[in-house]
Structure formats: C-alpha cells, structure tokens
C-alpha cells in the first residue's frame, strides 16, 4: 500500500515510505537518545564554558565519559551517590554554572527525589537533570531500572520543566533548548535504540507540540519512544480503516502546549494519549486535566497500567504491557466508537 506522504511533516521520507510495511523500522537508522544527548552535550559544552557534567558511575553507559575526556576539569564523577550529586548540582548552579546531572531515571526521579525537590526545584536553580533509561526503555534490566513513573513524579514538582524527546535529532535540539532555558529541566532519554524519525530542521521549541501527521478524525498525542509507535498506528488506521489520525508530537510534557491540545480536541473531537509511563500523572493525565476543564471529549490512554513490568527485549516488553502500535490502533477504534456515541444527537422521543 502506498503512503500519502503529504500528510506528514518533518518526518524523514524513508521513514514515511516504510510506515505501512510489516516491519516499518527494519531499515531505519536507530540510536538510543541517551547517546544523542552525549553527543549534544559535547557541542553545548564547547559553546558554553559554564556547562559542567556531573556523573554518577554510569558515564560509560550514557556516553558522558566523552565529555570527561574532552573537558576533564568540567566533569565530576560522584560515584554511586545520586543524592550528593543532585544537591551539589544545586550548589554549583547557585554560583552561575549550568550543571547537567546525569544518571538513570529511576535514581534521578526517585532515589534523589528529596534533593531534586528541595535543593533544585524549590529554589528554582538552573540544574539540568539528564535521565537515561526513562520509562520502560531498559527492557532487559528489569523493574528496578525501569522508570515507568519518572514523568509523573517530575511533572508533579512545582517549577519543573519535563522534556521527553522521541529521537536523536530532536533530543539534540532539546539539549540545546534546556541549556538556554533558565531553570530546572528534566530530560528523559531512552536506553534502547529508537528510530531516527525527524529531519534536522524539525522546529523544536520548548513547550510547543508539533503536528507531525495531519488528521481530522482523532488525534494521537505521543511522547518519547511512543511517537514512533503512534506514527505506525496512524498509518495502519489510514490503510486498514480509512481513519484520518492526527499525530501530535508532545516532547514537552510540562509546560503542556495547551493551545495545540485544545485545537486538536476541537478539530478532531477525540484524543488518544500514548506514553511509555504509568497512566497516573503523566502526559495522559495532563491532557485529561486540560480537557475536563475545557472540552471534555472522549479520550483514551495508552500507558503502563497499575503494574510493574518485567525483564525482556525492549519491544517485546512494551508490547506485552500494552504500549505498541497495535494497542494504539485498538484504543483509537475504541475512542472513535465513543466519539460516535458522544456526538450522536439525543432523541428526546426515545428517552420518553
């Protein structure tokens, strides 16, 4: 089946062309976004001498050991001591440095949460938290290293800014945007490789969601690694059912682009939110909170239900826990059924 490429925006042509195939990303270039971050921070560090990198014994995993090689005096490996690293980052930021504190998302958002809340976010200090292994992107490592709650936790903090980019090019843009923003930023990266979806001219702006596929029946709002799944689902819906699904790439979970979400709600009348994160408190919750107060249209959430996952290859784990494109397709059909009921004129005679 041919793909109508004209509805896609900023998506690489080779990605678009393969979206309807059985294995859409079989030939796509892939990279873990943690490694895209490690590349970007070298450039950011080159441009701004106030940027320092703080590691916690996972610099080889994330790739920030390269920053240590290039700028040895501006890298500090705190060892397996994330709490100390986060509060030290706060102290550094108070003197004008721009620390990027790098660790796994479970440790950044949970083990060191007290420091992240009280020493960084409460005084709104200019610390960037670079969190790899976010969501269930570390499949084989198992539950202790799967940060399925990090987006929800970070979103709950006042003064927070939370970004979860989908691929390498937009990750690099996010790192630059975070460095330029004055205040705490939580950057969420994948452990496993994800397809390189977008062109380098992607219009990345902090807090601005981008429509990457046009659609009029329903909008799929996605973040981080589920943007790829959302694109596949949207094309599958078009090919198999003639459904016109918009895809809104919401890289910034907080502050939410309320304008783009409300516009999508108004124009498409149904929303599916797809996030590799628990369904409590993350992007789905943010969208629901906005809709319920403004335009309570039918909505469905793709996310980790009230359970822990398990070890396994990344794609197999997220498929078992309901996060892949077939699940998004089913949720979309479901929300479209709801939309049909929701918008059907009520017959007063039938009620009587």
């Amino acid at each position: 089946m041919t793909v109508n490429a004209s509805v896609y925006h900023y998506v690489k042509p080779e990605i678009v062309a393969a979206l309807a195939s059985d294995e859409p990303f079989a030939n796509a270039k892939q990279q873990a976004t943690r490694h895209a971050f490690a590349e970007a921070i070298l450039e950011v560090g080159e441009a701004n001498p106030n940027v320092v990198v703080l590691n916690a014994d996972v610099s080889k995993s994330i790739g920030t050991n390269k920053f240590a090689e290039k700028f040895p005096e501006r890298e500090f490996n705190f060892g397996i001591a994330e709490q100390n690293m986060m509060a030290a980052a706060a102290g550094m930021a108070s003197t004008g440095l721009i620390p990027f504190a790098c660790t796994y998302a479970v440790f950044a958002s949970m083990r060191a949460l007290d420091q992240v809340r009280n020493s960084i976010h409460y005084p709104r200090l200019n610390v960037k938290i670079a969190a790899s292994h976010s969501g269930i992107t570390p499949g084989p490592d198992g539950v202790t290293h799967q940060a399925q709650e990090d987006i929800s936790i970070m979103r709950a903090l006042a003064n927070s800014c939370v970004i979860a980019p989908a691929d390498s090019p937009t990750t690099k843009q996010a790192v630059w945007a975070a460095a330029e923003y004055n205040g705490p930023v939580y950057l969420s990266f994948t452990r496993d490789p994800v397809p390189i979806l977008f062109d380098d001219d992607f219009p990345f702006e902090l807090g601005k969601a981008v429509t990457v596929r046009d659609g009029s029946d329903v909008t799929i709002i996605a973040m981080r690694d589920l943007v790829a799944q959302a694109l596949v689902a949207a094309e599958r819906l078009a090919q198999d059912s003639g459904v016109s699904a918009r895809v809104l790439y919401c890289h910034t979970i907080k502050p939410l682009d309320t304008e783009a979400v409300l516009q999508a709600a108004k124009e498409t009348g149904a929303i599916v939110v797809a996030e590799n994160n628990v369904t409590y408190g993350g992007l789905g919750s943010a969208v629901a909170e906005l809709l319920v107060a403004n335009n309570p249209i039918p909505m469905r959430q793709i996310g980790v239900k009230d359970t822990f996952a398990e070890s396994g290859p990344y794609l197999e784990v997220i498929d078992k826990y309901g996060l892949t494109s077939p699940h998004i397709v089913r949720a979309t059909h479901d929300v479209l059924d709801h939309k049909a009921r929701f918008t059907r004129p009520v017959s007063l005679a039938a009620v009587a």
Binding site: A81, Q83, Q115, P123
Partner: protein
C-alpha cells in the same frame, strides 16, 4: 571589597551573640513555633562566622565573590535570621514575621525569599552537598571565596552527609569548612539513645578530613578554629564543636523537649533575663 576589615574582638563577639540569642528567643516566642534548642547551640559559631570570619556584604547579598554560608540543619534558621538581621541584610522588623504568611522568613530557610541565605535548606543532609558544589565551582572558576557549612550531629545520621564527606576529600576541597554543632540531642531525644555517634573525629578523619575539636561556646576557641581552617590546604576541614542544646537558657539547656517548642510569655521573660545576664 572587604566589608569585614574591622574585626570585632572576642568580647565584642560575645556581646553580639547575646543579641543573636535574644532575637532567637523573641522571634520563636512571637511565632509560637520554631526550634530554639539547636538555634541557641549554634549561636556563638554563627556569630563568629558573620561578624569576624566571613567575607560578606549585607548591602550586596548576591555579591559573586562573597563567602557562602549554609545552615544545613535548616530547622535552626532563627539563628541564621538573627545573625543576618544583626549584620544588616534586612531590617530587624522582619524577625517579628517568622513563619507567618507573606513573610520573607520561612519556617526553614529559603534562598529566594531571604537576603543573605545562600541555599534553601530544611530537608536534612543536603546542605553539605550544596556547599560541596559551591566549593567545586569556586575552584573551577578560580574564585577565592570560602564555603562554610554548619551541620548537626543528628543530621550525620543521613547517609548523604557521608556521600558528600567522601567526595569532598576525594576532590581535596580545601575551600570548604564544616562546623559540626555537636549538641547531642535530636528531635526525639538524646542522639546516642537513637543512634550512637561514636568517635565522630575518627569517622571524619577516616573520610579524609582535617579535624579540629573545640568548645563550641568558647568564642576564643571558635575564632581560632575558624581562622585556622582556611590555612589547611589539600583537605577539607571539619570543626567538631562541643555544644549545649539550648545554651544560655537554663531550663532549655540539654533538654530534648526544647528542640522544637516555643517558649510562652513567662518563659520568654526568664530566658531573656538569663541571656542578658
């Protein structure tokens, strides 16, 4: 710019400490809440720092080259507020607003709201790490400022204190000085009845620190230790100060109940009379 060139004598510092203690008692009484015990135990140390040792400018609290001070045992912030007001960072009338709505003086110190507060504190075990970060920045940016952090003995139960202790000696952060306000009492009761402190000096030496032990209420010893610490190179220094919780008010001294309780009007009168001698 060095506003502290005219150094007060030991006797003058002792007089300032009386004012600081007076303000502590009055503000906690007016707030009807707060932590007098640990504020009074740190009063002589904080007075010596602000009025003799630290290079700060109350008219320019964000001066980039200033010495930094962090009261990591943030619940004792009345002593910090009293010293800052006495030094002229803000008008003393603010002391009447402690813990009240719209006050610049929060229940635990807030660097955004209060001039002179260099780090937001309150959750124990974080101020030393923040001070470590400031000290590392100072070295990286080739600044001469020093970082002074007061921690409590109960606070050393927090594991992150020892994370910071290890890192500070690894990186030879000799522009950082910690003063341990070793008053032997924490929220519930006596520290050793909860977790045994053991040989604190040996513990810090084992973590690679230079240790100075003093009487934390002997102004001469306090000043000597604070002025010696900057001369020690290649290792961070901790001054372990033997203190008395509630120092200066007989009925508060060494009584765990006065960790976090405000004196009533009558108790305040007695306390102020004792402090003023």
């Amino acid at each position: 710019m060095n506003p502290s060139t005219q150094k007060p004598s030991i006797e003058e510092l002792e007089k300032i400490a009386v004012e600081v203690r007076t303000n502590i008692i009055q503000m906690i009484h007016r707030a009807n809440a707060g932590h007098p015990g640990g504020s009074l135990s740190a009063a002589d140390i904080v007075t010596a720092l602000y009025f003799r040792v630290m290079n700060v400018d109350p008219k320019n609290p964000d001066w980039p080259d200033r010495d930094r001070f962090i009261l990591s045992k943030g619940h004792a912030c009345p002593v910090w507020y009293a010293a800052l007001a006495e030094k002229g960072f803000f008008d003393k009338s603010h002391l009447n607003t402690l813990r009240k709505l719209n006050s610049i003086l929060q229940g635990h110190a807030d660097m955004v709201k209060t001039p002179g507060v260099d780090m937001t504190v309150g959750s124990l075990g974080q101020g030393l790490s923040a001070g470590l970060g400031m000290a590392l920045s100072g070295k990286l940016q080739k600044k001469d400022y020093r970082v002074w952090v007061v921690i409590g003995d109960g606070e050393t139960q927090e594991g992150s204190i020892w994370e910071a202790a290890m890192a500070a000696s690894t990186w030879k952060v000799d522009n950082l000085t910690v003063i341990l306000d070793n008053n032997g009492i924490q929220n519930d009761t006596f520290t050793d009845d909860i977790q045994i402190r053991g040989d604190l000096a040996a513990k810090w030496r084992a973590f690679g620190w230079n240790v100075i032990e003093i009487d934390g209420h002997n102004m001469q010893q306090i000043v000597e230790a604070l002025e010696t610490a900057p001369t020690i190179k290649g290792v961070p220094t901790i001054i372990i100060a033997a203190t008395v919780k509630g120092k200066g008010v007989s009925f508060m001294e060494n009584v765990p109940a006065w960790h976090g309780k405000a004196p009533n009007a009558e108790q305040t009168q007695i306390a102020l009379a004792e402090i003023r001698g």
